[in-house]
Symmetry: C2
Subunit: 271 residues, 2 copies
Amino acid sequence: MRMLIDGKETSSIAADDRGLQYGDGLFETIAVVHGSPRLWRHHMVRLHEGCGRLGIHIPAADMLYAEVQQLCSETERAIVKIIITRGSGGRGYRPLPDAVPRRIISSHPWPEYAADWTTHGVEIRVCDTRLGINPALAGIKHLNRLEQVLARSEWDDPAIAEGIMLDSDNYLVEGTMSNLFIVRDGWLSTPALERCGVAGVMRTHILELAEQLGMNCEITRLHLNDLQQSDEAFLCNSIIGVWPIRRFGHYEYPLGATTERLIQAVALAGG
Amino acid sequence: MRMLIDGKETSSIAADDRGLQYGDGLFETIAVVHGSPRLWRHHMVRLHEGCGRLGIHIPAADMLYAEVQQLCSETERAIVKIIITRGSGGRGYRPLPDAVPRRIISSHPWPEYAADWTTHGVEIRVCDTRLGINPALAGIKHLNRLEQVLARSEWDDPAIAEGIMLDSDNYLVEGTMSNLFIVRDGWLSTPALERCGVAGVMRTHILELAEQLGMNCEITRLHLNDLQQSDEAFLCNSIIGVWPIRRFGHYEYPLGATTERLIQAVALAGG
């Protein structure tokens, strides 16, 4: 792992940083291929939205881009994580209006997921840990991730690729690290995220591609039985791309035509 | 500010710490008077509960006590903050079972709140930011505090001492940094915290004192109008002790007999 903090190569951070003290910040996890960060514009749009929501001054995108390239220009494939915190200072929870944000950019090796998860699909489970409902924090990728940590610690079985999370009102939301789509009766659907969840950049990208392909597509409230009774289903994020869902408990799903078309569209778009 | 990280005097921390990456940890904010941490047992009970809930190995209380004393033995009054994180490591949200927790202990000057807030009471407001409901995280003092940060950033007026927070179902929960009690018809009541909120050590202490004093006391669900229609109301935490509530919007409250008895009991108990 290599790391740049406020542009300097180092691996330590002031312990009074509000990112540590309160989770007061945001992050993006970006696929970088041959030095080029994929879906960069989508990542920057979401980061901008998150900084606006939390009242954190967003660092210039050009500077972030240059720092990502500085870490990854020579690697074939890498993951870059950008963390933006509100920086140090302020007594207690109250943020200072002139807080200077801190940026932590790190590069990591590409994760080794099973190759056939992309081609043949994955097995998933449902998590007991629920997502609390809070529209003020919904959609953005902030640093308060204990719900995901608890959900991901529920299973050890390496055959299970992902766990699906429901909100406290029992609606289907997302995976611990991915977004969820289902296909039923010719409609592509993904859960609405105004109340909780992270609006993934690959989710946004796929919604755009689906529209370009003329698919019937909706963002809506879904229940667990909507997933169980779907014709096809898949997970996505900026690193894994698309993972078709093959099995969920007693339910088995085919690798269907809609999922295949979207996998091809993502590959063609270079996303 | 002085700081000990894993026993060493330093002010920086590994940036891959999961406390920063995910808010994966807990904290305690402790009043230390003449080198003696107040309500130590209550702080350790809550920290133990929190570590158990998150699956973090809790450091030995004796070691934490010695480190608190190392920072504060010569100060008349100080605040000590103990942060316990899951430490570094693990790819993504999934915690490693053998993660080595990190402890960050820092001392801070006593905050300068207006002296008459204790004697004459405070003015409060209600926050727009709501608390999401999540029983898995309720009660413990974890590092995911964006809801409090957003709530505390809602007002600038220095005359307003605290903001009251409701949950997403409109129940009364707590202040941004304090717990809430009301007195009505001879009953002392405080909101139940099984669904969200932080179970403050001073709240626990006051509930114990109230029982010893033979007061009628209940932990229950409360609405905003229960506060508005109360005979007395007060806020508490381990640093401020008790702040009677004097004014909330159009409502004015007397400094009543129950609140005064509890203020005296806290002072006598050395809490």
